[in-house]
Symmetry: C2
Subunit: 510 residues, 2 copies
């Protein structure tokens, strides 16, 4: 579709690159809807055809990104004055498209196809292995995937450790040395807080959240809260699925899919708030920049900071429930008539070490991530053989969480990430928690009395601050720089520890 | 993606053509999901982006169908022995892809783009004109569209009347002379039956259908009936929309979208049955042939025959309600406790001439279609100026239906087809009714006692007969030939008239 004669002016080349990027995003956004539909409404019989549809679009996208024309445009633009200011949209877009182009073109097509094929089988086998708690079934696939992703990393590591080349896919510009330092500082602090909480005499009445919460009422309540905190239903919707996610179909169309269980209020409600956080980020991107990196989220860590901020920092605060508990009591009147605000809030913050990451509380959650980071780094570095994963997992869990899973289903098979070939993804969860606390601390200073605002049901001030400091910048800055510009300091574990200590200290009487 | 060297053997060329056709269909099926979503779940804010997504895919599809490579493959194959047997899959696929290729390549790209652009505006203006019953607002757009579609028809009419070139898009191989003859024979018979019914002393208690039918119960009842007649929910689903339709996403994924009104049982229920008829056709196509004309419906008229057969011939029969009325009384117990089977069945067959086509009963419906066929034929032939449409409409309605609409909203603006540039589409509705009656008469002979089967809730015999005679053939035969092969006679108005006379004669005591 692009004209093939070589344009002379950088402006013309840039226009062509942007037009290409917008079409590329538009085509990818068709896949986004196909995937959303697969997870929400698609009848079972449609699965094979859906795979064919997604594969066709993936092929078209790959053909378009690896076109030599894109390489020519990038080279021409990089040599021009148009990208002199590194924070200009032109420079950002050229830099970020270059990053993608290099990753896609430096890896041989055969290798990419082998990764895609192997991953498709590995996901299936992981599912079966998980179901039967049978690591032996998953082991050969894990070995294959580690080997393949190491090969891939070698193609674009450019001198960095192999793990960094994979981490960079999810968290642009991050390196394992920094992450190791950050997580190393965080670990003892979180572990000691978790221990103090375990030893505390005060305990929440956690059973409150496991009473009967009719699903249709959870939906009404969740949508009401989503609306009040700023999710725009004219530009989005909430549906039901198995594993919650946000699908960003395009500007003006951002969809949450979530799940409910009638006997677990926390699971349903905090999943919605979590996804609302992601969605507010998507809805806060600059629609004028749609289709280019300037209009896309900065990184998975930054994305996760937005979800965690709303799920935990806002959604488990006393001020938040001062405002919403009366509504909760109206909607769930038969369930909550004998529950006090204080008991409800304490139940929302129950801490108990468990085997499962995705069901973990706000405090011990990070310990789960640290275990995974340690093990996947070692596998990619070649220091841990995939065959030895179960033992290493159990050892790390004993060391970090103080408990050993009863089997591999509750242990090293519990997450699907590795079976999907995703190594370097896990750290973004805890990076998100770290960024969230740091952003929230700064927002509290700059917006003013957030507790007072939440109590009055006012969330727009915080949303606006996040729009201004985070959302509207798209990929203008790498995550670390974005956080530093927003908060005045590079990413640090301290705000997270302070925030956790303050809330849990009060609740558990530490 | 297709290799560009010229293959030597016809088999190789055919393989390449089929691979191309399958990818083409796969890509088009992504649009099908985008459109389905637009009509069911898409938030309002997503409309502009959805237009961009659909336009991108339409552009890719157009680029691919007009590629000279396809012309080369078709020419090579047409000269080969591979297509000697005209009913072989190879011959059918080559013939039907040629038909599409010629239509797309014979019309200049500029003209096609102007039609697309003009239609987008015309649809909007039709909507506004309809809302305000203001034909003057729609007139210039109707004029533009008639001019443009005439130009388009000139490009591929190849000596036929211009109207035939448009009709052929929807009903491959049909010509206006045949349609005129068929409709000319039908018209006096239907008009005279409608008059006898109007004059009859017996009248149905039509108000039964306008009682209170809670929508959630209509959904339960409709889905239960759909399942019993053979709609496969593992390979489909039913959602809610404004204008009912079927979206065929791919093999194993065929979706009905329909609507309900709490005070109109007939509107909701017969819309479901109508769409179930379409869906059974889609679900009955040969999945092995998916992506090629051999795996696609024969024509719009044949498609409509399947929907009408289930909606009217089956769904308004006494035997059908002998089986389903007890369930209806259970589901709508407060509404139907005092209604007899006979009164319910008679209410399902109430006949009353009205202004509105889409709400018309089974008898007068065809008169509405004949009016439109007459007027659009005249406009495309140049015998009726679009500016004179309202007068011509009212005159034709008076002549055919015996009533004159109160305004253009109830008159010539009521349907959106012309505003969408669709001329030549309307006849397929009545062709569908004609085919349906003819197919049903033959099925009754060959399957045996269908009334008895329906009374026992057995629909599989009829479905299997339709699969065998119609569905599985895809586009192997043109509509007329398909009907003749299935029934032993070319399309005729007689079975329809006989069927209507038999049922309505009994009900109204004619």
């Amino acid at each position: 579709m692009a004209a093939m004669q070589k344009p002379r002016k950088p402006e013309e080349m840039y226009t062509e690159l942007v037009r290409w990027a917008r079409d590329q995003t538009l085509l990818a956004s068709c896949s986004e809807l196909l995937s959303w539909d697969e997870e929400t409404y698609m009848p079972r019989g449609g699965v094979a055809h859906r795979g064919n549809q997604l594969a066709l679009i993936a092929g078209l996208l790959h053909e378009r990104i690896t076109s030599p024309r894109i390489g020519d445009l990038l080279a021409g633009l990089e040599a021009s004055d148009l990208v002199r200011d590194p924070a200009s949209p032109e420079a950002v877009n050229v830099r970020q498209i270059r990053r993608l182009y290099d990753r896609k073109t430096k890896v041989p097509r055969d290798l990419l196809q082998e990764i895609v094929r192997t991953t498709a089988f590995a996901q299936q086998e992981w599912g079966a292995a998980y179901h039967d708690a049978d690591f032996a079934r998953f082991r050969p696939w894990l070995e294959k995937l580690v080997t393949l992703r190491r090969k891939e990393a070698q193609c674009h590591a450019a001198g960095r450790p192999l793990y960094d080349a994979l981490l960079d896919i999810y968290e642009a510009g991050a390196c394992s040395a920094d992450v190791t330092a950050l997580f190393g500082a965080l670990r003892p602090e979180v572990a000691s807080l978790a221990n103090e909480i375990s030893a505390a005499r005060r305990k929440p009445k956690a059973g409150i959240f496991r009473r009967d919460f009719p699903v249709d009422r959870q939906r009404v309540f969740g949508e009401a809260v989503a609306t009040e905190v700023g999710f725009d239903f004219k530009r989005g919707r909430i549906d039901t699925t198995i594993h919650p996610f946000v699908a960003s179909i395009g500007p003006g169309d951002c969809r949450i899919a979530t799940r409910y269980a009638a006997d677990n209020f926390g699971m349903g409600f905090f999943a919605i708030l979590h996804e609302v956080g992601h969605a507010l980020y998507e809805q806060g991107l600059d629609p004028e920049q749609y289709g280019t990196p300037m209009g896309e989220p900065a990184s998975l860590g930054v994305h996760e900071s937005q979800s965690r901020l709303w799920e935990n920092t806002v959604g488990r605060s006393l001020a938040f429930w001062r405002h919403f508990f009366p509504l909760a009591r109206e909607v769930f009147h038969e369930t909550l008539h004998d529950v006090s605000l204080e008991d409800f809030h304490f139940a929302a913050n129950a801490v108990a070490p468990g085997h499962n990451r995705s069901q973990a509380d706000e405090v011990t959650y990070n310990l789960h991530v640290l275990v995974r980071f340690e093990l996947e780094s070692a596998m990619i570095a070649g220091d841990l053989a995939p065959a030895d994963l179960p033992g290493a997992w159990n050892e790390a869990c004993a060391r970090c969480l103080g408990i050993v899973p009863p089997d591999d289903r509750e242990g090293c098979l519990q997450d699907g990430h590795w079976g999907s070939g995703m190594f370097g993804y896990f750290p973004t969860y805890t990076l998100g928690n770290i960024y969230a606390a740091q952003l929230f601390a700064k927002a509290s200073e700059e917006v003013g009395d957030l507790d007072g605002a939440f109590t009055r049901g006012e969330f727009a001030g915080l949303v606006e601050w996040l729009r201004d400091k985070v959302h509207r910048h798209g990929q203008r800055y790498r995550a670390g720089e974005l956080i530093e510009r927003a908060t005045g300091a590079p990413p640090s574990h301290r705000p997270l520890i302070e925030q956790l200590r303050r809330k849990y200290g009060e609740l558990y009487g530490l």
